[in-house]
Symmetry: C2
């Protein structure tokens, strides 16, 4: 009988859990809930266990029967101990917390923790849009802009801080980034920065449906769905800010490609998967004027695993504790 793995993508706004049949790489159940904004790591881990329990119920498998659980987490992850520190976009998680140990007690299975962007990148490489690629750059376009690098079939982590594509400079002395620096790609393209800019423009009298749509949906911030809906309605501020984001992504991703000459760029993240193929074509077009080897641009594709990619990627961590690797879908062609 095939092994069954749990996968959890721990995000700043939501927790996505899945249960996956390791033999066929099939999602058997899934559940999502908001990330608690109070109660610190303890409350967050309880919500993670709860989401995984629901996913297991949907899969018709009690939580206790999972063979292993993988987690993709923000912050500084120690993959050996499963502790996570400095997860600053999670409430009360500035210090170090034994995520693997505490979650393991609650779900009754061994838990492995990896970097969220890395596992999502690996998922696209092994099971998604990057199955044929030897080198790829994952661009996770959401609240911020994260990057995952696969070179020669392997993740490149540098000194454990690689992939900060959102903080590549696209405009020296440019806009202030949520990170505090100036001119970062994320200062134009990150959903948080886009919302800050939209709020400032509204204060100055700019008309927009963005915040009306937000309220109708019972949100308190501009989610990817809110941006998508505003674009559908032809909202001019939304169009202008998305256009600005796409141009920044074009410059920043092209810069990365000029440096690395990867075969493939995969656009994921909340905004990336929500906007889909049409927007990835626009990003490819925005890259073109900046590509040095413009006769041979890389492929630019939307993340195929959509917003389950992080959780599916997290299950790829399970093989090392449960023994069975999830089969990758195709031989790598290099």
């Amino acid at each position: 009988m095939s092994l069954t793995y749990g996968g959890i993508d721990l995000g700043g706004t939501k927790i996505q859990a899945i249960v996956l049949d390791a033999g066929g790489a099939q999602v058997l159940g899934s559940s999502r809930r908001p990330t608690p904004t109070q109660g610190g790591p303890k409350a967050i881990v309880e919500a993670m266990a709860g989401a995984l329990r629901e996913a297991a119920a949907e899969a018709g498998q009690p939580l206790e029967t999972l063979d292993a659980v993988g987690v993709g987490s923000p912050g500084d992850v120690d993959p050996d101990t499963g502790s996570v520190a400095n997860a600053r976009n999670l409430s009360g998680w500035e210090g170090s917390f034994q995520l693997a140990a505490v979650l393991s007690e609650q779900v009754g299975a061994k838990v492995r923790v990896g970097n969220d962007v890395d596992v999502a990148t690996l998922a696209e490489l092994k099971l998604g849009a990057g199955k044929e690629a030897g080198s790829l750059l994952g661009v996770f376009w959401g609240t911020g802009v994260g990057g995952g690098l696969v070179l020669d079939g392997e993740l490149w982590r540098g000194r454990d801080g690689a992939g900060e594509i959102g903080h590549m400079v696209v405009k020296r002395k440019g806009a202030r980034c949520p990170c505090g620096r100036r001119g970062c790609m994320e200062a134009y393209a990150g959903r948080k920065a886009m919302e800050q800019r939209a709020r400032r423009e509204v204060e100055r009298g700019q008309k927009t449906m963005l915040f009306e749509i937000m309220r109708e949906r019972g949100r308190d911030s501009l989610s990817s769905g809110v941006w998508a809906r505003a674009l559908e309605h032809g909202d001019s501020l939304a169009q202008r800010l998305v256009d600005r984001a796409v141009k920044a992504l074009g410059a920043g991703v092209a810069s990365a490609v000029n440096l690395l000459d990867v075969e493939l760029v995969v656009i994921g993240g909340g905004l990336g998967t929500r906007f889909g193929d049409q927007m990835s074509s626009r990003i490819a077009e925005a890259m073109r004027p900046h590509l040095f080897n413009d006769h041979r641009p890389p492929d630019v594709r939307v993340a195929q695993l959509g917003d389950l990619g992080g959780a599916i990627g997290a299950t790829l961590l399970c093989g090392s504790v449960a023994g069975a690797q999830i089969p990758v879908a195709a031989e790598r062609s290099r």
Copy 2:
């Protein structure tokens, strides 16, 4: 008896040749001459052979006794055949030319050809500033700004077009680059772009000693030495344009480090080696406001092999035809 290798760095303005004792990695002789601007590849190869003959004479070894010759070349290099195409900064070298075969006839030894930036980067890794490094970014700051990448002890070439760090965007919609694009790092930091800017400012009435120093030295363009002398004299235009270049390098190199998190940045090239330690410290300082992991910046060092680095690096290609690898100076610590 130890083998003796020839190394030639083929540049847009000069040809640097050396003769190297492969056993001790010692330079026995060296010679430099301007790159012919007429006569196409044939004239250039004759000048290369001539420079190597002079270096051999200085080494007290007839050209015919060299065991192998390595060449670092611009353009599209085919390392298997030794042909070079599209070397656009060399006169009349748009098409493909059998560099290895033709030079081999003239020097009476086997010839291997590699990419100029790659061999200079490898030289710094194996014999120069990068001996302890597992990952490094070579930044060759001269007429243009070239990049060489070593990741996990190996050159990263992508699809053979990696390392175009000079064309990373530091200012969207910014200055026009000699490559025709806008806002590239090279548009601010490349010597060619700096000279174009200086000439425009002089046309607009700006005072400077740059062109006076150039004429005194019998030059027709602003060499690295001319820039260095003008700085020594406190020339305000030179100071301003070098400052602008350093800021662009700071943003561009920091962007590359944010993406790759390399251990070490080595600053080489004509301007990089001419300006030396003081300027590499200024570049490190200019990187700092843009570094995401600013608590752990990479080391930034001047290329240790100076302007012989390219030619020394070229000799590293010889081992594959002559049998004896040049010993690297230290075990890699990773």
